[in-house]
């Protein structure tokens, strides 16, 4: 059965204040980094999954992202997926 590698990026919805991001942005200013307009902190979840085909793998990870990885009240998510060469584990 083919394996796929997926990366789910969870980010705060634009309307939600991100105090940790704001604090990091202030620290970036103190470091002397100029020109930062915004800085928001999210999560990256890396997943390896085996499934009969890419469509099915995608369906499972979309379900996972919707139901567990992100809270739709405060977070958005995006999914990137690519097939892994057979029998290779990263």
């Amino acid at each position: 059965m083919p394996s796929f590698k997926a990366q789910v990026l969870v980010s705060l919805r634009p309307s939600v204040l991100d105090p940790a991001g704001e604090a990091t942005k202030s620290a970036a200013n103190r470091l002397g980094i100029q020109g930062l307009e915004s800085l928001r902190i999210g999560k990256s979840i890396e997943i390896q999954i085996h499934a009969p085909n890419e469509q099915e793998a995608r369906r499972r990870i979309e379900l996972l992202s919707d139901r567990l990885l992100a809270n739709p009240v405060i977070e958005d998510w995006t999914l990137e997926m690519k097939p892994l060469p057979s029998n290779r584990v990263e």
Binding site: P19, A23, L68, N71, V73
Partner: protein, 217 residues
Amino acid sequence: MSIGIVVFPGSNCDRDVRWATEGCLNIPTRFLWHETRDLSGLEAVVLPGGFSYGDYLRCGAIARFAPVLESIIDYVDKGGKVLGICNGFQVLTELGLLPGALTRNQNLNFICEDVSLKVGSTRTKWLNAKECGDLIKLPIAHGEGRYQCSTDTLKLLQDEERIALSYVSNPNGSVADIAGITNLKGNVFGLMPHPERACDPLTGSIDGRSILLSLIS
């Protein structure tokens, strides 16, 4: 007539609640391990404070899938009372029994202090021993207590008189100073402050008593 307190791995206010309900208020109390599904004979269930399952991913996100919480959905549908305190409130929002979400405090600090709270609604039995506008004092102890919801949800909460408690001086940046809300039916109440820590005069306040007594009223 007895109540149950759910014990998740990582709960740390489960014993405090029992000390208050059983020790201060003489309410028969039993612990409910997170893997149980048996809620028989319980007048009410408390989801206590703490860090359920380490609060990994998001506060309450993993606890939501505990077997005991599958039973709680059904229990609530049948009118059973559920009180979620602090982490318990976070679990109730993740579970969808209460709207919104609890997020990182605006000032990024873990805040541990007594706060003044205004009673915003006495529509439900949780606070019907009080009058609207009454002030009570309860301790808070949280890092992620900033209540967030959409403007539509906020309007709904206001229109349906579901904002039970609000902060007099907002410590964490919560929308509309919200400290605690109920569901529409009124049998589910979630709040960030800790009523169980305000049940003995020695700890500074007994304003938590009436909330816990309403578990069996």
